[in-house]
């Protein structure tokens, strides 16, 4: 058990170190952003004195190192800072938005992950026959299209023409009942599912096919088991690790990469919040979003690592 605990502790420590490095990158990166927040707030006609006053008030004149340390100190105590443009605490607005993003990502994942794995198993079962080719061709064509294109197409057909679902998420209210909330995000869910499906399905297929070459699969076949039992009981448990890795990457994408979809469907998620504040040059909000995205990304990959380690019988049951 010692070995396992040591490995897990190592991974978690590495994740934290990575997060620290990323905080430096995010801070340095936002310093390089062009534009001036004071100009944005006061407009083109502001006098130089007014601009200088506002800059001093917002604290953007202090040396970067001091500002970084203050920011880092805030992060460690759970304070993401104050938005420059509105003067409000970022935490409240950000976590409200994050909850919305999670809501969308959760429902997209609930549909996409099982569907992708099932299609992957199906593709293996009918390998090189028409179901396999059909699955590969259709998922690959949806991943090849930019998500805003799929988004507008589905919006037009399902939302405008057929009127099955609401075409945008403008009417989304977090306090509404579940059904009407789902109605407003139905099309975004479909878009996200189509975007992440191919990747996970192809990886499931490849990982299982790789395992299917093993001698123990031949043993299982010579035991007289049915093809599906062989895949489910003998191939899948050994393919979990690569599949989990790609599933986690895509879950991370569902949270972090939804910016475009949120903007297309006017969904009040974290992505849109970020885009709004980039245009306003509101650096603290951009930094806060960046660090939250990085935490989610690293966190999910960490979970994938942990699952890989935990499903490895050699590590779980040392000699």
């Amino acid at each position: 058990m010692g070995l396992l605990a040591k490995l897990l502790a190592q991974r978690i420590a590495l994740g934290l170190l990575l997060l620290f490095l990323i905080s430096i990158f995010i801070f340095a990166g936002t310093l390089l952003l062009p534009g001036d927040v004071a100009q944005q707030i006061l407009g083109q006609t502001a006098t130089p004195e007014a601009l200088a006053n506002l800059r001093a008030k917002l604290g953007v004149n202090e040396p970067p190192i001091d500002r970084y340390l203050t920011w880092l100190g805030g992060l460690l105590t759970g304070d993401l800072g104050t938005a420059l443009t509105s003067g409000q605490n970022i935490n409240e607005a950000l976590f409200r938005r994050l909850a919305n993003t999670f809501f969308l990502a959760f429902w997209a994942a609930i549909i996409a992950v099982p569907l992708a794995i099932f299609l992957g198993l199906l593709a293996v079962r009918f390998r090189d026959r028409w179901p396999d080719k059909l699955i590969s061709a259709s998922t690959l064509s949806t991943i090849s299209m930019p998500e805003f294109v799929i988004g507008y197409i589905l919006m037009f057909i399902l939302g405008v023409k057929l009127r099955w679902f609401s075409p945008t998420a403008v009417g989304y209210r977090p306090d509404a009942d579940l059904l009407s909330r789902l109605d407003s995000i139905a099309i975004p869910i479909m878009v996200l599912t189509l975007v992440v499906l191919a990747h996970m399905m192809r990886m499931t297929r490849a990982a299982i096919l790789n395992v299917m070459q093993s001698a123990y699969i031949e043993t299982a076949e010579l035991k007289g088991l049915s093809t599906f039992t062989v895949i489910r009981k003998h191939a899948f448990p050994n393919a979990i690790s690569p599949v989990v890795n790609v599933v986690m990457l895509n879950l991370a994408y569902l949270v972090v990469g939804v910016v475009v979809v949120e903007v297309v469907f006017v969904y009040p998620g974290l992505g849109q919040y970020l885009v709004d504040h980039v245009t306003k040059r509101d650096i603290p909000v951009v930094q806060a979003c960046g660090i939250i995205f990085a935490t989610i990304y690293i966190g999910l990959n960490l979970v994938a690592d942990l699952i890989s380690i935990l499903t490895n019988p050699r590590l779980r049951h040392p000699k």
Binding site: A215, Y216, T219, K223, G224, L225, S226, R314, H317
Partner: protein, 545 residues
């Protein structure tokens, strides 16, 4: 006349081949084989690789590996032709009436599941036993196969038991559903001799007690002679000879069978050491990075010019580590390596080009030791270019000379490794080693992956080249017959220590230490009743102690 359990008639099996550069096409690999197996009878299938032994064995489960297809013929098991029944019936047959034990149990067990779950899977799946019945039967079988802690071993995962134990677990897996026929496909080939004898004894006892019929597939006549009632000799998919074990071993009718029985015809008188040693290892101690135990302890040995020092031992005894230390791949923690009166620096990067040239290696797996995208000419030419800066015509001339020395013609220059047979590949590797004109060649299990007759040819070639080129060999092997054939002196290694060391005649003569005695007496001999004799002797000795 008793009804036979298995009746195979005119069995023809084909496969799709993908020749390099050519179009894939179908070939016939088994050309109409007939045989019968009675209830409780053990039939040995013997032959070299490519003889179709495994393919025929798997055909009794209506299975073709990879692109292998059964083209024609009948395979009757329990009164029905399994080649013309439907898939659901075949699934009942597989794992129920006929079971399979493969060569590598380590690869044949699912690493993610406990042993017990896999052993009882078929019995439960086919409804032969309930889960608890099957488990108690499996535990009985573990007892019968003399596995350690038989009541709890099933709870372990495959990587937690040794190779020999896993091979016995696989036998239990095959016997658990009370099949009518078990196909043993080289079940002891991957094991050390000292482990092989235990597994062989366990399999034989289990077969006898249960009274199950078996097909025993192997390339090793001495092994099959211990377990089979009858033997069928196969060559290139054709039956050569079929008779009782006694007749095949003691009075073979066919030329090919006689060659198989009398293989290892090499008689190599040991040479006296002359001059000063070419290589001296003194008190070598080594361990791998990141580990906390030594793999080699105080190993000392000497090799004389144009002589062969054989290093024997089981897997894990440190043989290959010794080779890595001498070549500089693993610098020793302690000790000194002298080569030709000068001290070799322990690590590879600080050795001179001359040091590198004088020690060459030949490996067990010739096909992975060559770049598949280079021609034979490029492979052999590379060291000539690298060490002697020969190019163009001169290089080509030297490559042809070397091809001649390994008894292959210059028409091979443009061929790729995939176009060569196993023996030819190993010859090319020998030529590549010789191209550097070394004083010492380290041969690491160079004949282990080859068929006996081909291996014999390689050993003869190595001996000829030795007298021609005055090169010394450090010959690593686990096969004692090879050692007897080729060595001048012998090192027996056990757990990283030198157990016994000296001239061949001395090492192979009594009095023996316990380990060498165990090792020597475990080598199967080609006579009936050898296994029983050895086991009886060992029993008496342990009773005497």
């Amino acid at each position: 006349m008793t009804e036979s359990l298995v009746r195979v008639r005119n069995l023809k099996i084909g496969a799709t081949v993908y020749p390099p550069g050519g179009k894939p096409h179908d070939v016939e690999i088994v050309h109409g084989v007939d045989f019968d197996v009675r209830q409780g009878q053990v039939l040995g299938l013997i032959g070299e690789s490519g003889a179709g032994k495994s393919t025929i064995g798997l055909a009794t489960l209506a299975y073709g590996r990879g692109g292998v297809k059964i083209i024609d013929g009948e395979v009757w098991v329990n009164g029905r032709n399994i080649l013309s029944t439907d898939l659901s019936d075949i699934r009942k047959l597989r794992g129920g009436e006929v079971t399979y034990v493969s060569q590598s149990a380590a690869a044949s067990f699912n690493p993610a599941k406990q042993i017990m779950e896999q052993v009882i899977e078929t019995s439960v799946q086919h409804g032969i036993y309930s889960k608890s019945q099957a488990e108690s039967r499996a535990i009985d079988l573990f007892h019968q196969l003399s596995l350690p802690s038989p009541d709890t071993i099933g709870k372990r995962y495959p990587h937690q038991v040794s190779g020999g134990q896993l091979q016995r677990c696989m036998t239990a897996l095959a016997l658990c559903p009370e099949p009518n026929l078990v196909v043993f496909d080289e079940p002891t080939t991957a094991l050390d001799v000292t482990t092989q004898i235990d597994v062989l004894a366990a399999i034989k006892r289990a077969i006898n007690e249960i009274g199950v019929a078996a097909l025993y597939i192997t390339h090793d006549l001495a092994v099959v002679a211990q377990v089979a009632d009858d033997i069928m000799v196969l060559k290139m998919g054709e039956m050569i000879e079929h008779g009782t074990t006694d007749q095949i071993i003691n009075s073979p009718k066919e030329e090919y069978t006689r060659a198989l029985v009398s293989v290892r015809s090499i008689d190599h008188p040991e040479k006296h050491p002359k001059g000063s040693p070419v290589l001296t290892c003194s008190n070598i101690t080594a361990r791998y990075r990141g580990t906390t135990f030594d793999v080699l302890h105080n190993v000392s040995l000497e090799i004389y010019p144009s002589q062969t020092l054989a290093v024997v031992g089981e897997s894990g005894s440190g043989k290959s580590t010794l080779a890595r230390t001498i070549t500089g791949l693993l610098p020793p923690r302690d000790g000194k390596i002298m080569f030709d009166q000068r001290e070799l620096s322990p690590d590879l990067p600080s050795r001179t080009l001359e040091d590198l040239r004088e020690i060459q290696m030949i490996y067990q797996m010739a096909d992975v030791a060559m770049n598949p995208r280079q021609t034979v000419g490029t492979i052999i030419g590379r060291p000539i270019e690298f060490y002697f800066q020969l190019r163009g015509k001169e290089k080509r001339q030297r490559v042809i000379e070397l091809l001649d020395e390994i008894e292959m013609g210059k028409e091979f220059i443009g061929r790729y490794p995939a176009e060569l047979s196993g023996g030819q590949k190993q010859r090319v590797c020998i030529a590549r080693a010789l191209a550097a004109k070394p004083k010492l060649i380290i041969c690491d299990e160079v004949t282990s992956a080859l068929d006996p007759l081909v291996a014999d040819g390689i050993l003869k070639l190595l001996l000829n080249l030795q007298s021609l080129e005055n090169v010394a060999y450090l010959f690593i092997t686990h096969d004692l017959a090879t050692v007897k054939a080729i060595a001048d002196s012998i090192v027996v290694m056990f757990e990283g220590k030198v157990q016994r060391y000296g001239r061949k005649s001395k090492v192979l003569s009594p009095p023996f230490d316990d380990y060498t005695d165990l090792l020597l007496s475990s080598v199967p001999e080609m006579r009936l009743g050898w296994l029983e004799n050895v086991l009886a002797t060992r029993k008496m000795e342990s009773a005497g102690n």
